[in-house]
């Protein structure tokens, strides 16, 4: 019996929608609590003092920070938003945002476990390496862009209005309790702001992932280029968590390894829910450029890896 390409069911949609919301909320919450604490307790100059001044070295350092401060793709956005506000160069923030969901010990281990018997060491190493390289390349591109083309006006305003000294237009409260109270309100504002985008993103993702007949993708597995593109599109639609996506990717046995690698690198950097979450920080035009750039860059790198026999 032929199954239509697209069949929507409201109960199935609401079930998938709710399950991703319940899964994602704790991680966004942790991210926004960290964001509130950073706002009140991290002096702006501290980060700048320890990060390399050279843009390339700064991007490399930021892209590797996930090894020390692992974050998932949902939780990382409120954190980088706060770090940008505290004076972190936007290129470094983008490098951390793109790399941290992949270049972190939890994801490395889960990728290794998922690909046991399918070149686990090769796949987990290449996943980290490609994600790192892509994050640094995108960060360097961002470094050369004017901020007004990258950041939303209200974020840009907060960065531009930041004076050279520690403060940024208002004084921080004095005393631990007052600071914690202020951190709470910053965390609450960030949480609710990011959650609006998260809810919208998960809604679109759940609608497509439950309604799309996934068998339509199978014929594309026969060609490296089509397989890689279709696996990235699938990662975009499914909006999986980077800690578990390797287990899903490993089951696409009909697809070449390069396509699975593209799925594993592209998904944590850009998916449907992230498009909406990124909208809390970046301009629509930048997100569109980021999407196209990541798709082309990751696709090209992964397909070219066939030369090493992957």
């Amino acid at each position: 019996m032929d199954v239509p390409v697209f069949t929507f069911s409201l109960p199935d949609f609401s079930y998938a929608f709710l399950s991703v919301l319940l899964e994602g909320v704790p991680f966004i919450l942790v991210g926004t609590i960290i964001s509130g604490l950073l706002d009140q307790f991290l002096p702006s100059k501290v980060m700048l003092r320890y990060l390399p001044r050279n843009p390339f070295l700064g991007a490399c350092t930021a892209a590797g920070m996930g090894l020390v401060f692992p974050m998932c793709e949902c939780g990382v956005v409120p954190v980088i938003r706060r770090l940008i506000h505290k004076g972190l160069p936007v290129s470094n923030a983008v490098a951390y945002m793109l790399a941290a969901p992949v270049v972190n010990p939890i994801v490395i281990l889960s990728t290794y476990a998922a690909f046991r018997g399918q070149g686990a060491l090769e796949m987990s190493s290449l996943r980290v390496a490609v994600a790192f390289v892509v994050a640094v390349l995108v960060a360097m591109a961002v470094h050369n862009l004017p901020l007004r083309r990258v950041l939303k006006p209200q974020i840009l305003e907060s960065v531009e209005n930041m004076p050279d000294d520690e403060h940024h237009g208002h004084s921080h409260p004095v005393g631990l309790f007052s600071r914690l109270r202020a951190a709470l309100h910053v965390a609450v504002s960030d949480f609710l702001d990011v959650m609006v985008y998260f809810v919208l993103g998960v809604g679109v993702s759940a609608a497509i992932s439950t309604a799309l007949n996934q068998e339509v993708l199978l014929p594309l597995a026969l060609n490296d280029w089509l397989a890689t593109a279709s696996m990235m599109l699938l990662a975009f639609v499914l909006s999986l968590c980077s800690t578990s996506d390797a287990f899903i990717a490993a089951t696409f046995v009909a697809f070449p390894a390069v396509a699975k690698l593209a799925f594993l690198v592209f998904g944590p950097m850009l998916d449907l829910k992230l498009v909406f979450i990124y909208s809390s920080v970046f301009t629509k035009r930048f997100i569109l450029g980021l999407a196209v750039g990541l798709f082309v860059l990751i696709g090209l790198i992964c397909v070219r890896l066939t030369v090493i026999g992957l």
Partner: protein, 275 residues
């Protein structure tokens, strides 16, 4: 909109999300949505969100320290904007809570396709356990030939209480297969009508959902059941099948087929997912 009114809207949004998380956890409904590894995260977020809601309402921010510019983004400041944000956060959540049947229906299962081999499942590795020590301390036979049969749970009438995963593993591992082949078994799953290879109309699929993280990544896993007569149950309803486990080989591939003696409706198990 005044800061006070905004605080109350924020508190309401946080409270609703927190209460939903806690209600799912304490009612056990969370088991139908998330892998057990995530349950503690749910209860954690529920408590933290409720505490944050209380803190937001009862502990107003000192205005001299935080005007609308302090965070770079504090969300909407107009009454309409705040009301819209609150609605976007609460209405879809509560709507989904009310509509969601806590399990996938036939449409999602069809769209995802049925996995009928253990090798199709995430994280599968061939069975290769080290040898176990025997009672006298010597090393016993390794892997599949170990006496797993003695560990199988049996129903009061002596049938093996099998799971979908047991039979799929057994189809792929000759040593395990010996424990199940032609044995009387009892198994619970969800009814899904056979869409192909069913010339006599007496076959259907017994489906369970295999989950890595949450229901959104669930993969339907199916075993074929051959019944005495064509069976008609609502799609994806829970049924109990008793019969014999067989493992025919077709096209060089061995797969499990349950030759059913009885098929009856049953309650959903406490743990609806397989991991």
């Amino acid at each position: 909109m005044t800061l006070t009114a905004r605080r109350y809207f924020q508190g309401a949004s946080l409270a609703v999300w927190g209460v939903v998380a806690l209600a799912f956890y304490y009612s056990g409904r969370i088991s139908s949505y998330l892998h057990p590894d995530f349950h503690s995260w749910t209860v954690f977020s529920g408590f933290v969100l409720v505490l944050m809601a209380i803190g937001t309402v009862l502990l107003p921010v000192e205005e001299e320290h935080c005007d609308d510019d302090c965070g770079g983004a504090h969300g909407p400041t107009s009454a309409w904007g705040t009301a819209l944000t609150t609605s976007l956060l609460i209405i879809p959540l509560l709507g989904a809570v009310m509509i969601s049947p806590s399990q996938f229906g036939a449409v999602a299962v069809m769209n995802r396709g049925l996995a009928d081999s253990i090798t199709d499942l995430p994280g599968y590795v061939p069975f290769s356990e080290p040898p176990l020590p025997t009672e006298d301390g010597s090393i016993g036979p390794s892997g599949p030939s170990a006496d797993l049969g003695s560990y199988l749970t049996r129903s009061p009438d002596g049938r093996i209480m099998a799971s979908t995963m047991d039979l799929l593993y057994a189809a792929n591992e000759p040593g395990l297969r010996e424990d199940f082949e032609n044995q009387d078994i009892e198994i619970i799953g969800q009814f899904f009508p056979a869409k192909k290879n069913n010339p006599n109309g007496d076959r259907f699929s017994l489906v369970r959902m295999f989950v890595m993280c949450c229901a959104a990544d669930a993969r339907p896993v199916a075993i074929t059941v051959r019944a005495l007569q064509p069976e008609t149950f609502p799609d994806m309803s829970w049924i109990k099948v008793t019969g014999k486990a067989t493992f025919p080989t077709e096209g060089g591939r061995t797969f499990p087929v349950i030759v059913a003696e009885s098929v009856v409706p049953t309650e959903a198990p406490t743990e609806t997912f397989m991991y």
